[in-house]
């Protein structure tokens, strides 16, 4: 039996951003839920976990600041990846995470495939659900960040906006947070953990590598493109160390269970709270 060949899927920087986003997102959803559900037993348990109503807010605010800084840093690291002379192909090419018309076709064909009609579409480097994951966060972060900053400094906000805008801003902040939490804890967790192809955990985002066999199955167009361009040899790496693997398995499962705890309790207690 031949040992599997590993290729690079995510760089160290990308994994670090994901880890940072994971930690801040979990803290944000925990502290946010602790305040949203304060009138229920679930909210009080969470609030006690974060050291009280006021401290939960303080943690929420500072974690938000870290989140915003990480987002800005991420945008800065993206800038040199854009080839300005060759703009359109870099933005809409196969290596880009920007959605294009091919994704719409692939959504349709993949949906048909789930009903047993036709072949599974050949995905390139980023499949449409990965692109949606990325852009959902990319749209949510500025919205949550800006509305969050406006709520931290309401007096400054009301010098250029009328006070009733704070009602709208607070509503937007909560509604977008609920959207992000339900998407991440239902869809993203399902794709990353429960889907048979990635059960019990899709390790690529932590180890940064995936086996060539898996890549050929999941992203045949990408592997073919790499082969034809002769880049595949350069992508080959070593598998992750076993101690590192243990650490991220435990960490990932902890994050998963915290998320599911929030999701289930949030659903149970949702009838006792209003979004205002």
């Amino acid at each position: 039996m031949t040992s599997p060949v590993y290729i690079t899927r995510f760089t160290k920087g990308e994994r670090l951003f994901h880890l940072c986003l994971m930690l801040t997102f979990l803290i944000q959803s925990g502290t946010g839920f602790s305040r949203l559900f304060l009138t229920t037993s679930f909210g009080r348990t969470l609030t006690a976990l974060f050291g009280g109503y006021e401290r939960a807010l303080l943690i929420h605010q500072w974690s938000g600041v870290v989140m915003i800084i990480a987002f800005l840093l991420h945008v800065v690291t993206l800038l040199p990846k854009i080839e300005w002379k060759n703009l359109l192909p870099t933005i809409f090419g196969p290596d880009s995470i920007v959605p294009n018309f091919r994704d719409v076709q692939q959504i349709w064909r993949k949906t048909l495939w789930t009903f047993g009609i036709g072949e599974m579409p050949k995905f390139d480097r980023w499949a449409y659900w990965e692109k949606f994951d990325y852009w959902a966060v990319f749209w949510g972060m500025p919205l949550l960040g800006v509305t969050g900053l406006m709520l931290i400094f309401p007096l400054t906000t009301t010098t250029f906006l009328p006070g009733w805008a704070l009602n709208i801003i607070a509503f937007l902040h909560r509604a977008e947070a609920i959207l992000a939490i339900s998407y991440i804890f239902i869809v993203h967790f399902f794709i990353g953990h429960l889907r048979p192809a990635s059960f019990p955990m899709n390790e690529a985002m932590f180890s940064g590598v995936m086996t060539l066999e898996e890549a050929e199955e999941e992203k045949p167009a990408w592997v073919e493109r790499l082969k034809s361009e002769g880049k595949l040899e350069g992508m080959k790496t070593t598998p992750p160390a076993s101690w590192y693997r243990k650490i991220y398995y435990v960490f990932g499962c902890l994050a998963l269970s915290f998320g599911i705890y929030l999701l289930i309790n949030g659903l149970i207690f949702s009838r006792y709270v209003n979004l205002h």
């Binding site: 304060l38 009301t158 509503f171 048979p196 209003n274």
Partner: protein, 254 residues
């Protein structure tokens, strides 16, 4: 002759004196202190920067600049355009300018606020900060918000009430709607349309995203499970066939 001499001289002198007087009067404003020295409403560059763009009020000088509207306008909130203290208050606006807003209500003395103001009793201030109604609305007689001497009148609410806890509260800040209607309700549609349509947009976004991605990813997972089971079965069948072949060959050898 004499009269004419005197007359002409006198006339000349009179003319000269009047010219001097007129000149003095015309020049006198130059030596008066500027009319704006004692007033706060004069707009200089620095002061105009301190103005709230949302209300037109100065932040530190509570003086309204010229040609600025007195109160905030919320599009569609009230027919007149002026912000009301509460959108849900529209149903009781008949009593909007009374000194005692509960005047003439029977058994008023033995009833509690939340018995009538059910929706108003639940808001972020009461639930989260544990503020009671009277901490803002004051003691008996509780005046209508529109009454000139009410502490909740928008002309002084920010300074009299909001600033008790929110240091530095401005007029614009105090137009935050405390008794806000439920975002997706008919009441919100009538009284706070901006909130209503924002909530409509967010519900569409949330519903649309989840309505596609939840069933879609579950379907994909289910389909993958079927494929996996199929491939495993075919593998095990192959294995069984191989085993049989091997067995047969062993038997032959024996």
């Amino acid at each position: 002759m004499r009269e004419t001499y005197l007359g002409s001289g006198y006339d000349d002198m009179k003319k000269r004196i009047s010219v001097v007087w007129i000149l003095t009067l015309l020049a006198s404003p130059m030596f008066f202190p500027s009319s704006g020295f004692s007033q706060g409403g004069e707009e200089t560059r620095q002061r105009s920067l301190l103005r709230e763009r949302s209300t037109g009020y100065y932040q530190q000088y509570e003086v309204r600049p010229r040609n600025q509207r007195a109160l905030l306008e919320v599009p569609g909130l009230t027919p007149g355009g002026l912000i009301s203290y509460s959108p849900t208050g529209a149903v009781v606006r008949v009593r909007a300018r009374l000194k005692d807003s509960h005047m003439g209500i029977r058994f008023y003395g033995s009833s509690r606020c939340e018995e009538c103001h059910v929706a108003q009793a639940i808001n972020l201030h009461t639930v989260r900060a544990r503020i009671t109604c009277r901490q803002c609305h004051g003691d008996e007689p509780i005046p209508s918000i529109g009454h000139y001497y009410s502490p909740l009148n928008p002309i002084r609410r920010h300074a009299y009430l909001c600033a008790k806890c929110h240091e530095g509260a401005s007029i614009s800040y105090s137009s935050y709607i405390i008794h806000e209607p439920v975002a997706g309700s008919q009441l919100a549609k009538e009284n706070f349309p901006v909130l209503y349509y924002t909530s409509g947009f967010m519900v569409l976004l949330l519903g649309g995203t989840l309505a596609f991605f939840v069933p879609h990813s579950f379907m994909v997972g289910f389909r993958e499970l079927i494929e996996k089971v199929k491939s495993k079965r075919s593998e095990s069948r192959k294995g069984v066939e191989k085993g049989r072949e091997g067995g047969e060959s062993e038997e032959e050898e024996v």
